[in-house]
C-alpha cells in the first residue's frame, strides 16, 4: 500500500482523519493483483446456466411459471461450478469463469444460435466461444422453440407497432427479448434479517388461509429461491474450508477461513461484520443476475446502509480504515467479473459490456439531514483504485453536503475516468415529488442504472428504458408528411394526403404536426411497453429478486405483477436537443426571416446538403442559435419539446395500474445509453445542419460540437429545461480538457462550477476529463490504451471496447477549455 503524505490529502475528511490513500496512488498490492487478473480474462460465453435451466424446465412443464423459475434457480445454484478467485475476499461467480456471460435461453435463444460464429468477430463487446460451447447451445435450441419470451412478445405485437419499428422510430430494446433487471433491493432489510428472515416471513404467509393462487405460487417460489440462495453461500463456505486445508501460505489460509466463516453464518439473521455485510450485498446482486438477464441491478444508497456495519467494526477495533478501503475495493472489482451478452443490434445501443450497476453515495437523508459519512469517502477512494466500469458510481450533493464531499468528488473526476456522476438533490427531490411521492420518501432516491432515479428497495421494475423513441426520426417523418424516406412507410399524414408532399404555412402548423406525431408514436410505444410487460410478467417472474423489494412479500406478488410499493416507468426519449435546434431553424429561416422556403429547406435535406445552393442554406442553418449557448431563442424551443412529451404522460399508465403499487404512471427520461449513435445512423439530414447518419444528441446534452460558449453556457441552457419534472432522469455529459482541472486553483473553480450547476437547478452532470488527442490515439492504437475508461452516456466503459461509431461520437463532443 502506498501511503499519501498529509499535504497530498485533499482535505480533512470527517471520521477518517487517518486516511492513508491519495487519488492516483499505487494502491494495495493485493488489489492490483486481483484487478490485473480480472482484466487479463477475456470475456467468454458460458453454456452452464443454459444447460441447467433446460434440464429443469424439461422436468417442470405444466407448472406455474413462477414456480418453474424458482426450481430452475435452485437447480442452477446447486449445480453450477463455483470457484474462489485468488486473493479475493468477496466470493460468488456468475459463470464458469470470470467475465464470462451466461446464456438465458428462456428469454430468447435464436439470436444466440445465429450469432454463435460472430461473437468473436464483433467490432465491440467481443466474446470468445469454444466449439464445445457452440454445440451445447445448439443442442438445446429445439427444446426452446415456441417457449421463449421473445416469441411470445413478437406474436403479440400489432402490425402498426411493427411498422413503427421498421421506420426506426421505436425500438423495444432488451425488454422484448431479455429480463428487465432494474432492481434495487431493500438492503437495510436484507442486512438486518438475512435471507433466512425473509424466508420466515414467506413461510408465515404460506400458512395464511386466505391466499389466492397467485399468492400461494409466489410464496412457494420465494421460499425455494431464498433457500437456494442460502445453500449457494454454503457451497462457498465448504469450498473455502477445503481450499484453506490445502493452502500453504498462512495469511491466505487465514483469509480462506475467514471467508468460510462468513459464508457459513451469512443470511442467518443480521450481518455480523462489515465483511459479511459486503458479501450480503454482493450475493443479492449476483443471484439476481443469475435469476434474470436484465441489467441495471443497482446498489442504491450504499454508504447509508453499509455505514452501521462499518462503524460497529471500527468501534469494536475489528476493522481499520485501510482494511475497509481494501474490502470495498475488492467488492467493487468483483462486480466486474459479471457480464451480459446481448444481440449485436442491441449491443450498439449500449456498448462497452455495460451492466449499469449504479452505486450511490452522499446526499440528504429521509429526515432532511445530510447523510455523508466515512463510507461515502471510502467509496470514492475505492473507485479510484478500481477504475473499471462497475459499479457506476454516483454522488448526490446538496446545500448541506460537506465541502469535503465536493472536493473529493472533483478530485476523483479529475482522475479522468468519468466517475462519479453528480446528482443535485435540490432538483431530483422535487422531480420525484412531481409524480406524487411524499417529500421524505423522495429524499431517499437513488439512481438505478444510469441517471434514472428510484426509491431503493421500494420500487417496481424499470425506472427507465422501456421502449426507445427516436425523436429525430419523428421530426424527419413530420417534415415528410408522415412518410419515412428510408423505408417508405407512412402510418399517418400531416395533411390527410398520401405521399410525402407537404406544405406548412406557419411555424405553429409545424409545431402542431410535431405534437400530433409525437402523440401517435408515444401511444404506440406505450402499447409496446404493455405488450412486453404482459410477457415479462410470465417469463421474467423473479421470486428471488422480488423478495428483496417492498411490498412483494406482503402482497404475495412478483414486481412485474405489482409487488412494488411504487411503480413508475419511463421510455427513453432520444434527440430532444436536436429537435429544438432543428425547429429553431425552421422557425427562424422559413417563417420569421423568410430567407428560404420550406420547400428549399426540404430539398436541401433530401440532398443531404450537397450542392452549392444547399451548402449556403446549411450555412444559414448553422448560424441560427443552437442549444447549449445560453440563447433563450432556441433554449425555449428545446424546453417546448420536453413539455410536448411531458404533457402527454398523465394520459398513460403501465401494466401494474390498479394492481397495488402507488403510481403506475409514466415519467420522462433522457437516459439513453449509446443509442444516440445508432439512432442517428437511421435519421436523414436534419434542419439544424446535421448530415445524414450523424449521431443525434445525447441525453439533455447539446448536439455534438454545437456548444461554443463554454461550460457555463451549457449549464445555463440546460437549466431552462423543465428539470424538476424529469422524474425519469436527465442526463448531461460534458468533456473537459485535463488542463482545466490542473492544480488546486483550477479545482476550486471546477467545484464552483459544480455548485453553480446545483443552484441553477440542473438534475445531473458527469464528465470526461480527457484530451481528444488521447482518444484519437486510442482509436488508432487500442493496444496502447487498455485502461482508458470514458463516460459513454449514463455509464462508463473501457474506450477500446466500444464500437468505432461510438468512439467517434465521444471524440466529437466539445472539449471545454479554461481560458
Amino acid at each position: 500500500m502506498v501511503t499519501a503524505k498529509p499535504e497530498q490529502l485533499s482535505s480533512a475528511i470527517p471520521g477518517i482523519e487517518n486516511m492513508l490513500y491519495e487519488y492516483g496512488g499505487e494502491g494495495f498490492p493485493r488489489v492490483r493483483r486481483v484487478r490485473a487478473e480480472l482484466m487479463a480474462a477475456v470475456p467468454a460465453i458460458c453454456p452452464e446456466r443454459a444447460l441447467l435451466i433446460t434440464e429443469s424446465y424439461r422436468e417442470t412443464e405444466g407448472q406455474p411459471m413462477v414456480l418453474r423459475r424458482a426450481k430452475a434457480l435452485e437447480r442452477i445454484l446447486a449445480n453450477m461450478s463455483i470457484f474462489i478467485e485468488k486473493d479475493q475476499l468477496i466470493v460468488g461467480n456468475q459463470a464458469g469463469q470470470v467475465r464470462a456471460a451466461p446464456i438465458f435461453p428462456e428469454y430468447s435463444i435464436d439470436w444466440v444460435i445465429e450469432e454463435l460464429d460472430q461473437f468473436e468477430k464483433r467490432s465491440g463487446d467481443v466474446f470468445t466461444i469454444t466449439e464445445d460451447t457452440k454445440d451445447k447451445l445448439r443442442s438445446i435450441q429445439a427444446f426452446w422453440q415456441g417457449k421463449t419470451h421473445q416469441e411470445a412478445v413478437y406474436a403479440d405485437i400489432s402490425d402498426i407497432n411493427m411498422a413503427a419499428q421498421q421506420q426506426n422510430v421505436i425500438h423495444r430494446g432488451g425488454i422484448s427479448m431479455s429480463g428487465d433487471g432494474h432492481i434495487i433491493p431493500n438492503h437495510d432489510k436484507v442486512l438486518a434479517l438475512g435471507y433466512r428472515g425473509l424466508q420466515q416471513q414467506v413461510q408465515e404467509n404460506l400458512k395464511r388461509t386466505d391466499l389466492n393462487e397467485e399468492q400461494r405460487d409466489f410464496y412457494q417460489a420465494a421460499e425455494i429461491s431464498l433457500g437456494a440462495a442460502i445453500h449457494f453461500a454454503r457451497r462457498y463456505a465448504k469450498l473455502a474450508t477445503k481450499l484453506a486445508g490445502l493452502e500453504s501460505d498462512p495469511q491466505r489460509k487465514a483469509e480462506l477461513e475467514q471467508i468460510a466463516g462468513v459464508n457459513t453464518r451469512i443470511f442467518e439473521g443480521k450481518a455480523q461484520t462489515f465483511h459479511e455485510a459486503l458479501q450480503v450485498v454482493y450475493y443479492c446482486h449476483l443471484i439476481m443476475m443469475i435469476e434474470s438477464n436484465g441489467h441495471s441491478f443497482s446498489f442504491g444508497r450504499f454508504d447509508q446502509y453499509i455505514y452501521p456495519y462499518y462503524q460497529a467494526d471500527i468501534d469494536a477495533g475489528r476493522l481499520t480504515n485501510q482494511q475497509a478501503l481494501e474490502l470495498i475495493t475488492l467488492f467493487f472489482i468483483k462486480l466486474n467479473s459479471l457480464n451480459k451478452v446481448r444481440p449485436w443490434d442491441h449491443t450498439e445501443f449500449g456498448v462497452g459490456y455495460p451492466l449499469y450497476s449504479n452505486l450511490m453515495v452522499g446526499g440528504m437523508k429521509a429526515d432532511g439531514l445530510d447523510g455523508t459519512n466515512p463510507v461515502t469517502y471510502l467509496s470514492l477512494r475505492a473507485m479510484d483504485l478500481t477504475r473499471l466500469p462497475e459499479p457506476n458510481l454516483s454522488v448526490r450533493y446538496w446545500a448541506g453536503s460537506p465541502r469535503a464531499l465536493l472536493n473529493e468528488s472533483a478530485r476523483l473526476i479529475r482522475e479522468g475516468f468519468g466517475m462519479p456522476a453528480l446528482f443535485a438533490d435540490e432538483t431530483v427531490i422535487p422531480a420525484m415529488m412531481s409524480i406524487g411521492l411524499p417529500e421524505e420518501v423522495a429524499r431517499d432516491y437513488a439512481s438505478m442504472g444510469c441517471v434514472e432515479v428510484a426509491i431503493p428497495g421500494r420500487w417496481g421494475h424499470r425506472a427507465t428504458g422501456m421502449t426507445y423513441i427516436n425523436f429525430g426520426k419523428i421530426l424527419e417523418i413530420v417534415l415528410n408528411n408522415g412518410t419515412d424516406p428510408a423505408s417508405g412507410i407512412q402510418l399517418m399524414s400531416v395533411n390527410g394526403q398520401p405521399g410525402r408532399d407537404v406544405h406548412f404555412n406557419s411555424y405553429d402548423e409545424v409545431w402542431q404536426a410535431w405534437k400530433k406525431f409525437l402523440k401517435f408514436y408515444t401511444d404506440l410505444a406505450v402499447e409496446s411497453d404493455a405488450i412486453c410487460d404482459r410477457h415479462l410478467k410470465v417469463f421474467d417472474a423473479d421470486p428471488f429478486g422480488s423478495s428483496l423489494v417492498d411490498n412483494s412479500i406482503e402482497r404475495g406478488k412478483t414486481l412485474k405483477n405489482g409487488g412494488g410499493e411504487f411503480d413508475f416507468v419511463s421510455q427513453s426519449t432520444i434527440g430532444t436537443s436536436i429537435i429544438g435546434d432543428a425547429l429553431a431553424v425552421v422557425k427562424k429561416l422559413v417563417f420569421e426571416d423568410r430567407t428560404i422556403t420550406f420547400e428549399q429547406l426540404r430539398a436541401a435535406l433530401d440532398a443531404n446538403w450537397q450542392g452549392v445552393q444547399n451548402q449556403k442554406i446549411r450555412k444559414l442553418a448553422l448560424a441560427v442559435p443552437k442549444f447549449g449557448n445560453d440563447e433563450d431563442y432556441v433554449d425555449e424551443i428545446v424546453a417546448d419539446v420536453y413539455t410536448s412529451y411531458l404533457d402527454l404522460l398523465p394520459g398513460y399508465h403501465n401494466a401494474r395500474f390498479g394492481q397495488g403499487p402507488i403510481g403506475c404512471g409514466y415519467t420522462m427520461s433522457t437516459s439513453n445509453i449509446s443509442s444516440y449513435v445508432p439512432y442517428g445512423m437511421d435519421v436523414g439530414a436534419t434542419p439544424d445542419g446535421r448530415y445524414y447518419g450523424q449521431p443525434v444528441n445525447e441525453g439533455a446534452s447539446p448536439c455534438l460540437g454545437a456548444d461554443k460558449q463554454g461550460p457555463t453556457a451549457v449549464l445555463k441552457s440546460v437549466s431552462k429545461l423543465p428539470n424538476q419534472r424529469m422524474a425519469g432522469g436527465q442526463l448531461l455529459n460534458m468533456k473537459f480538457s485535463p488542463n482545466v482541472l490542473k492544480g488546486d486553483d483550477n479545482l476550486e473553480k471546477f467545484i464552483a462550477l459544480l455548485e453553480a450547476n446545483r443552484l441553477l437547478g440542473n438534475f445531473h452532470i458527469q464528465f470526461n476529463i480527457v484530451d481528444s488527442a488521447e482518444l484519437r490515439d486510442a482509436r488508432l492504437h487500442p493496444e496502447k490504451h487498455p485502461n482508458l475508461m470514458v463516460r459513454v452516456a449514463g455509464y462508463c466503459a473501457l474506450f477500446t471496447s466500444l464500437i468505432p461509431e461510438v468512439q467517434d461520437a465521444i471524440i466529437a463532443r466539445t472539449e471545454q477549455q479554461g481560458l
Binding site: 452549392v612 451548402q615 449556403k616 450555412k619 445560453d630 460558449q709 463554454g710 461550460p711 457555463t712 453556457a713 445555463k716 482545466v740 486553483d745 483550477n746 476550486e748 473553480k749 464552483a752 462550477l753 455548485e755 453553480a756 443552484l759 441553477l760 471545454q816 479554461g818 481560458l819
Partner: protein, 308 residues
C-alpha cells in the same frame, strides 16, 4: 489611426465565458478592440486596430471568388497564388463577404455593441460569479481606450453587486482611469519592461506614463495584480526582472504578481490578418527556466502565480 469612440457604443471582439486566468474565480472577460501598444509577441493581434478586422483562413478557401463579387468596397482581390488579398484601407468590416463565403473562410473580428447588450450578456453568468467569487474582467486590446463605455458597463455591474476587474497596459491618460475607477474592484496591470528603451523596442512606446499610472493607482488604494509578461531573451534577464520587481515593490496595493510566459497560441491569427509574425523563431519556456524566474520573483515576498 485615431480611435473615434462613442461612449454609447463599444467595439469588442468577444465575451469570453469561463475565463479562469483573468482575475479571481470564474469570470466573463470582455475583449475590447484597439490598443496603443504594438507588442512584438501580441497574442491577440486582431485586437490592435480600433476598427473591425476581416480575418481570412487560407486553408478553408476554395478560391471560388464569391467574396470578391460580394464586396461592394472593392477591397478584395486574388493575389498571384490565388489567395484572397484584403486591402485593409478599403475594407470597413461590413461582413458582406463573410455571409457570401460558402466555406466559412472569412470572419469579422470586432462588433459594435451597446452598454445594455454587454451588461445583459455578462449578467447571464451571475451564478458562476457567486459560487466562485468571480466576476467580470474588461480586457483587450486596451479597454481604457473605450473608458466611457467600460465605465457604464462597470457601473451597471457594481449596481448588481458583481466584482469587476480591469486588465490594462496603462498607456493612456490618467483621466481615463478616473472615469472607470469608481466602478472597478481590481486592476490587472501589465508592466512589460522596466528599461524604457527596451520598452520602446518591444512595444513601440516608452513606459513612463505606464509607471506613473501604476503609482497613481497605488496612491488611490486600488488593489492590483501586476502581470509580468516573459519573453525569452527579450525581457527576462535578471536585471530586467529585478527592475520590474523594483517598480512593483514600490506599489503598496499590489496583492499578487502573475507571470505570463510567452506562448505562440496567437500565431495563426497573424496569418489570417495578413501580417507577418515578428517572433517566428522564439522557443517557448522550459519548466526549469520558468522555475528560476519564479524563484527570483518570489524572493520579493509577494504572492506569485504562473498564468494568473
Amino acid at each position: 489611426m485615431l480611435p473615434m469612440y462613442n461612449p454609447a457604443r463599444g467595439l469588442i471582439s468577444t465575451v469570453q465565458k469561463y475565463s479562469t486566468k483573468d482575475g479571481p474565480g470564474i469570470r466573463d472577460t470582455v475583449f475590447f478592440k484597439g490598443c496603443p501598444l504594438g507588442c512584438l509577441w501580441c497574442s491577440n493581434p486582431e485586437l490592435i486596430r480600433p476598427v473591425p478586422d476581416l480575418l481570412y483562413s487560407r486553408e478553408k478557401c476554395a478560391h471560388c471568388g464569391t467574396c470578391l463579387s460580394a464586396c461592394l468596397k472593392e477591397a478584395l482581390s486574388f493575389d498571384e497564388e490565388g489567395y484572397v488579398w484584403v486591402d485593409r484601407l478599403k475594407c470597413d468590416g461590413c461582413g458582406e463577404c463573410v455571409q457570401a463565403c460558402p466555406n466559412s473562410a472569412l470572419e469579422i473580428a470586432g462588433k459594435f455593441v451597446t452598454v445594455e447588450e454587454v451588461t445583459k450578456e455578462v449578467l447571464k453568468d451571475r451564478v458562476f460569479y457567486q459560487t466562485s467569487n468571480g466576476g467580470v474582467t474588461f480586457s483587450g486590446g486596451e479597454p481604457l481606450w473605450q473608458a466611457g463605455f467600460v465605465a457604464q458597463v462597470a457601473r451597471n455591474l457594481k449596481n448588481e453587486g458583481i466584482h469587476t476587474a480591469l486588465d490594462t497596459a496603462g498607456h493612456v491618460g490618467w483621466c481615463r482611469f478616473e472615469e472607470v475607477l469608481p466602478y472597478i474592484d481590481l486592476v490587472l496591470y501589465d508592466i512589460k519592461a522596466a528599461d524604457h528603451n527596451l520598452h520602446r523596442q518591444l512595444t513601440g512606446q516608452e513606459n513612463d506614463v505606464i509607471i506613473m499610472n501604476a503609482q497613481l493607482l497605488a496612491q488611490h488604494g486600488m488593489p492590483m495584480h501586476v502581470r509580468l509578461v516573459l519573453i525569452p531573451g527579450l525581457n527576462d534577464s535578471d536585471a530586467e526582472i529585478k527592475g520590474r520587481m523594483q517598480i512593483v515593490s514600490e506599489l503598496a496595493t499590489v496583492q499578487q504578481v502573475d507571470l505570463l510566459p510567452y506562448h505562440r497560441y496567437g500565431i495563426g491569427k497573424y496569418a489570417r490578418l495578413g501580417l507577418d509574425y515578428p517572433l517566428l523563431d522564439l522557443p517557448e519556456y522550459s519548466e526549469e527556466r520558468l522555475a528560476e524566474i519564479e524563484a527570483l520573483v518570489r524572493s520579493y515576498g509577494i504572492k506569485t502565480t504562473i498564468g494568473g
